[in-house]
Symmetry: D2
Subunit: 349 residues, 4 copies
Amino acid sequence: MSSKPIPMAVIGAGYWGPNLVRNAVSCPELDLRYLVDLDLGRAEKISAPYAGVTAVQDALTVFEDPQIEAVAIATPAATHLPLALAALEAGKHVLVEKPLAATWDEGRQLVDAAHAAGRVLMCDHTFCYTPAVQEIRRLVHEGVLGDIQFVDSVRINLGLVQRDVDVLWDLAPHDLSILDYILPEGCSPTAVAAHGADPIGAGHACVAYLTLQLPGGAIAHAHVNWLSPTKVRTTMIGGSKRTLLWDDLNPLQRISIYDRGVDLTDAAAVDAEDRRQVSISYRSGDMVAPALKEREALGIVMSEFADCIRTGRAPLTDGRAGLRVLDILEAASRSLEYAGAVVPLRGRR
Amino acid sequence: MSSKPIPMAVIGAGYWGPNLVRNAVSCPELDLRYLVDLDLGRAEKISAPYAGVTAVQDALTVFEDPQIEAVAIATPAATHLPLALAALEAGKHVLVEKPLAATWDEGRQLVDAAHAAGRVLMCDHTFCYTPAVQEIRRLVHEGVLGDIQFVDSVRINLGLVQRDVDVLWDLAPHDLSILDYILPEGCSPTAVAAHGADPIGAGHACVAYLTLQLPGGAIAHAHVNWLSPTKVRTTMIGGSKRTLLWDDLNPLQRISIYDRGVDLTDAAAVDAEDRRQVSISYRSGDMVAPALKEREALGIVMSEFADCIRTGRAPLTDGRAGLRVLDILEAASRSLEYAGAVVPLRGRR
Amino acid sequence: MSSKPIPMAVIGAGYWGPNLVRNAVSCPELDLRYLVDLDLGRAEKISAPYAGVTAVQDALTVFEDPQIEAVAIATPAATHLPLALAALEAGKHVLVEKPLAATWDEGRQLVDAAHAAGRVLMCDHTFCYTPAVQEIRRLVHEGVLGDIQFVDSVRINLGLVQRDVDVLWDLAPHDLSILDYILPEGCSPTAVAAHGADPIGAGHACVAYLTLQLPGGAIAHAHVNWLSPTKVRTTMIGGSKRTLLWDDLNPLQRISIYDRGVDLTDAAAVDAEDRRQVSISYRSGDMVAPALKEREALGIVMSEFADCIRTGRAPLTDGRAGLRVLDILEAASRSLEYAGAVVPLRGRR
Amino acid sequence: MSSKPIPMAVIGAGYWGPNLVRNAVSCPELDLRYLVDLDLGRAEKISAPYAGVTAVQDALTVFEDPQIEAVAIATPAATHLPLALAALEAGKHVLVEKPLAATWDEGRQLVDAAHAAGRVLMCDHTFCYTPAVQEIRRLVHEGVLGDIQFVDSVRINLGLVQRDVDVLWDLAPHDLSILDYILPEGCSPTAVAAHGADPIGAGHACVAYLTLQLPGGAIAHAHVNWLSPTKVRTTMIGGSKRTLLWDDLNPLQRISIYDRGVDLTDAAAVDAEDRRQVSISYRSGDMVAPALKEREALGIVMSEFADCIRTGRAPLTDGRAGLRVLDILEAASRSLEYAGAVVPLRGRR
């Protein structure tokens, strides 16, 4: 491609920002010009080793620079709305850290604003761009797993106890964005229930369990936990044909596809009083661990962002995807308040 | 001990019965005389290699033999009440397979009948007699873990889909009996919520999640699943001082005790408008895996049963423990019916 | 099969004998009548639970009982020759614990005696009868792995330090008998070197490394160790087409077959001074873990023994296989004495 | 420290060079000014994102720049001697990639030249600077493990088959430098034997086994392999008091210290004919996994290099350490040529 790299800025030099900076610098389609942070010293320290990146304190500098075409926002969720809105209004394309915004309503405003401005709004659902999740999506969409019967996610480790958000809003966006990404369209969750606990007195849930109803009697569940001394990141996806286990902490065998499961065959009812007779059989076939490339997901996020700006197509994880995740998070929070009550979802629109 | 071994019978030669037979034969304090099964051929085949064990078809033979002092019952749960009741009325001591009975009311009748007859009623909560669970109980009761903050159990594998019971009643009794055994008295669960799915059309839940409220804001959770292609049996017990991970499928390191966690220190509120200030700190100390003996739990069950008969003391897992497990199972079933509603427990009595 | 079970005896009630007893009792083709041990009390204790098994102190009782057709010998290696010879001379079929005998010469005598007597001589190379090793042999013999390039075995754990044999003679027979079983005929080892250490002062090697030269530039290596606090039992078999990893302590995935490796293509030498040009390419394909049945190997050993007696065919692990293992063990011992010198093998005859 | 960062250059932009560049840039005590590579385009590409780093083609530019005080050399081993020698003669401090040089004699020249020039000569034995190896050294030197009885290293994976060096020279320097670093002084290896194979026809060994004799009957062994489809990096260090297992691919539990082992007690010989009576006992105590910091080793290498330049002290892995590794590598190569013959070492000087 002979086109010039896209001039861009990163806003936020906190936990995630430096990763965005590093990957923007490495991405040949992008040309990082600014790193913005209220803490100018921090922005300067992070940007210092890189040639051509200026640290600034005020995002306005970026919005007002007509050369800048795109911004990536990695600030606290509460600030996503004003920053992203200002960026869109200034005609910039926007990549936003997860979650898309602090509430579904705010997220909605961003989606509408991007639509009105004709600009790309992409949500940085990083895990969706890992080779593992790409492969899982392919396997699900091509029917290799059959109908999805259950999804079980565990994402636990000794995490940083956040002051502004609970463990649901901190960790579950990963699982929910992955779920949104891999499930076929007709398979989106319809309702959610959440149970949580704050046994250390942090002021909000540090351990939480989320149950999602899926169409057709299927179920999805996520366990997120800041208090676990060991790190676990697994997702099991049970299908009618195959069951897949993704263990993100096992680089030598991240994905295992098992040809093991339970099959039920309908047999004719013997007489009217009989309940449906089912004949159960078990498959215990081989397991296959497909070869995966090792690529840094955030690098692919950057390429996707650049490519969508170039071509005008919607990102794989666009604002709408971010909105669907917010829908579940909000419902889950309400469920937590009401002791685990089942809360229906808005769903896809 | 010079006393003679206790003459006993095993009723039920199905899945679990042969294990009871093998361990009763190996236990020097017991003298296995009968194996009872409606399928006499099966009883004969199982008992054939053993000297001195007679296969019979009718449990009445056992109840009417005045030499028999004890019976172990390993039949379907629906038959526990009549069989155990008849045994107690015939003056036999009784060891019953889990769950104690098909309902809490039936279990209550057994507890009362054993009390009235002055006979031992023991529930075969086998896992409680593993060296691992014995060690966990010790660590919890001696305060090594501190206050219990969360308990997370996973018991999943490609299990036999049962026709008469769902996955909750099939697998959760293990986790619930272990929980009952290790938690200190004041720490018993107060309410339960359950979510399940039957994605294969088996007629009842094949995947289920159980959330238990514990006093003081703590939480316990169990994932039971018949559809998982891999086998997982882990329990994590988070405490204010230490967190313990029990991985029953790792014989080289079943128990790991982590000195890692989150500590909160209350700091004085600066002014009236401030929310409570908490100062968070993280421990990341060593991990210790205590040496455990390798002993077959069922052998210890047999010794415990014999010892309680000899001494008249209550078994570590007596009828009351079995009743508490039934309490939770019944409440969980009701919760499943009502889409995850929180159902309070009867609790200890 | 309507034929009567074969009356047999087990000689030796030490470490392995009880396993032979249990499996002989469970095998419908065999009829265990005697358990022999110089320590009669021990023989009585082991045989007590089983109907129809008599404990005796003198093997002569067995040899002189004309009804007994077969014996299984599980005594120290030094006694294999006199016991097995007497048994063969008395017309019994013989199953001998590994190693076949204390020396190659003694083993040779047994093979000759069995041949002369027209009786079955089988070596209890138990691991060869595991579903895993059966599958490995099949994969090697059917060419799925391609040409064997390297074999690497590790068999280490906190083992019982033996007084009469070193770690080589205690543990390596397992690896060597497996190697003998899986390698195609033309692929037998041609020479061996061994290095060992006795860092605790036990009087002989407690840690040893064995290197075997295989035809065609291939290599096999075994690490045996009594001093390791953890247990490892792995064998990797590198082939020109696939590489297989057998992890015997991972029941959920004992065998993994990797389509990963290095391929070399010869390219024409450009000119006379050039060294041979090789073009290297790497395969990084999928991994497949084949489904394996879970069966106790010793039960299959018993069936094989019975079947060979019935049909007169040679056992899969016959005396000659035992002899080939002794050949390597003796050469390895000589190598140990001479500080790792390479010692050629007698090889197949 | 208020002193100015040390102006330096990196020579070599191949496989390892970019890591040196990244860590030099991040190290506040160093000021990276040049990246040198014969392939100027490559040097330019690697240095482009970093401010203040100039790509040059000729190392002479660096040697002649009087401001440059230090160079890090990451070129093929055959070029270490001329480059490092020129650097030292130009008065620069030198950090050299492993192995120190292509031969022991060349390494010796470098050590002598550095001594004569009064400059720092450091060998980049990166693994020695990992928190894990630092902890192991501490545990060994403080006597926690007791006397070292055996060391067993495995370093295998599908590695790049090198054209200029065999697997021994490619991978074993890691294990040998670690061994050199952790063993107490009196415990250095005295002789080596090596066995290897080239089953793919690469022109030199692709699989190799190295056995080292240690004083007092102890043994060390390393398995290095380019053909393994899975990656293993473990080192077990058996001591008279504790045994340690280092699994570098398990970030959650890199080091496990087992209080398990075999103890021998000498007992008085009962009479003259008796062999020495030894009484064997087994310890099976707890396992402890110490908490380790996660730090990038190469960052610590850079700090160590800078600190040695500042203070004039010898690096933890100085030229002499690199020389001791070369001593073993050369002896191992000779052993390979002579089919595994034991070759004595020059040892410490």
